[in-house]
């Protein structure tokens, strides 16, 4: 019962000669937002890809609710209860907004209360409901991001991973997305937020791990958000 929703144990990821992630351990509990920040190439996306089964870790373990998910297909891992909002949103531009949402249903474990889950997405992001008949490619970047998060949520996951959701969004839209993340975690979902926007992430997350060259450099609490010097030092450590 005390197992965290998601736990990485000494995770190692290599792409050929590149050692992308070195011995990364971290935990995300139910109802908690945890940040993962670091410069480009620090190993953030590799970590997410290893969790989702897109690449096989060369060492360590990924545990979901206490059970290892290493070596399984992405489609199986989704059904075990992790959903990813991928980098660049990866919306199917030629499909309608509603069809994009229906694709998210592919990852549901059991039928459950589908209408309630859809309603939750619609109340979180009213724009998704309003534009559901439109081609997803006609939405703005911020609207597409809301759709991408909504699409991940209809799978009713225990753990939600987000890969740089604020990338390319106007500050006002980032506010909206981050506020939604707070609501999502309040509903009991474990949220792992990978970001470049360090200060905002640190302010939002219960704790934020700083990754550099594939290894964990520092763990920051929300109180560090105002302390820019400490953040900058952490970044270039």
């Amino acid at each position: 019962m005390n197992e965290p929703a998601l736990r990485l144990e000494a995770l190692e990821v290599r792409h050929g000669a590149v050692h992308a992630v070195r011995g990364l351990s971290l935990e995300v509990d139910r109802g908690e937002i945890v940040g993962l920040i670091g410069p480009n190439g620090a190993g953030k996306s590799s970590t997410l890809h290893a969790i989702m089964g897109l690449m096989r870790p060369s060492g360590g373990d990924v545990r979901l609710g206490g059970k290892s998910i290493v070596g399984q297909d992405p489609e199986t891992i989704v059904r075990r209860g992790i959903a990813l909002v991928p980098e660049g949103r990866r919306i199917f531009a030629e499909l309608s907004v509603e069809e994009n949402l229906r694709l998210g249903l592919a990852g549901r474990r059991e039928r459950g209360d589908l209408d309630a889950d859809l309603q939750r997405v619609y109340s979180l992001f009213p724009i998704v409901q309003e534009f559901r008949k439109r081609p997803a490619g006609s939405l703005s970047g911020g609207q597409q991001q809301q759709l991408a998060i909504g699409r991940a949520l209809v799978a009713a996951p225990d753990v939600l991973l987000l890969d740089e959701p604020s990338l390319g969004l106007a500050p006002r839209v980032v506010d909206l997305v981050f506020a939604a993340l707070q609501e999502i975690s309040a509903a009991g979902i474990a949220v792992l937020l990978v970001e470049q926007r360090a200060q905002r992430t640190v302010a939002l997350a219960a704790r934020t791990y700083v990754l550099s060259n594939g290894s964990l450099r520092l763990t920051l609490g929300p109180e560090a958000a105002g302390d820019t010097e400490k953040l900058v030092a952490a970044y270039f450590a």
């Binding site: 297909d73 489609e75 989704v78 199917f92 069809e99 694709l103 249903l105 592919a106 490619g137 703005s140």
Partner: protein
Amino acid sequence: MLVANVLGADWQTLADAMGQGGLYALMAVGIGLVFGVLRLVNFAYGQLIMAGAYALAFASERGWPVWGGILLCFGVVLALTLAMDRVVFRPLRAHSPAVMLVATFAVAFLLQSIALLWFGSLGKIAASLATLNQPVTISGVDIRKISIVATAVAIGCLLVLVAVLGRTSVGLHMRAAALDFRTARLLGVRANRVIGAAVLISGLLAATVAVMMTVQTPLVTPDFALRDTILVLAGVVLGGMNRLVPATLGGFAIGFASGFLGGALPTDKSQYLPSFLFAAVIFVLLIRPGGLFTRAGGQAVERL
């Protein structure tokens, strides 16, 4: 029908061209569906049709009832299609498209060689449905029944396919997988199920085409449907390989053109037809490399 008058063609030629265009459109769908989910050009598609045609000839020679032959045709083609998926496509899925293309060449020649060994080069006759070659008179115009049946079957198959792709969840998953397979899998779309469905539908279409084609060409030889497959592949590339609708239109266009010109031109000219068609394909690709039926700049640009 100005064009028809200019070329001196009659309604029969037009109806034949429609029928051939319809069959080529079905083949284009069969090739395009598998390409969509596997990025694999199945060069062995024609040999599936050839196998189905031999099944029909086998049944016809033994005097089986028509439905028995059709059942055997579907059984043989589906068994081969699924075997091809299991033995060749699945193990090679992670490899480059070039590796898979060469593998389908190998499968194509393997199946053709087996046909040559088992049935010889002289060919067998599939005659169970030969009555469909007789004409029916519609308001004073004689038209072969098979041209009407082929057109109707093609339209029916395409309508069913549109419904499956548009209204069912496996259809939605197939469309998503064709657009971005990795993201589809990350959403929980099962890769094997989607590929299996695409391969199964392409097999059903191959069997359907085999039944229709043996009526038009009852003599079944080891290279049955080979020339058609090459023309359809040209048509698919011509229409635009990446999208199903343009690929289907491309298949229809080249089938219609080849049927129409083949019927309208005198024999001493129509023997040059394939050369002219391929020259036309090269010409179109020089002008519109993305395909004839794709929108200019058709790739959706992701907005930031």
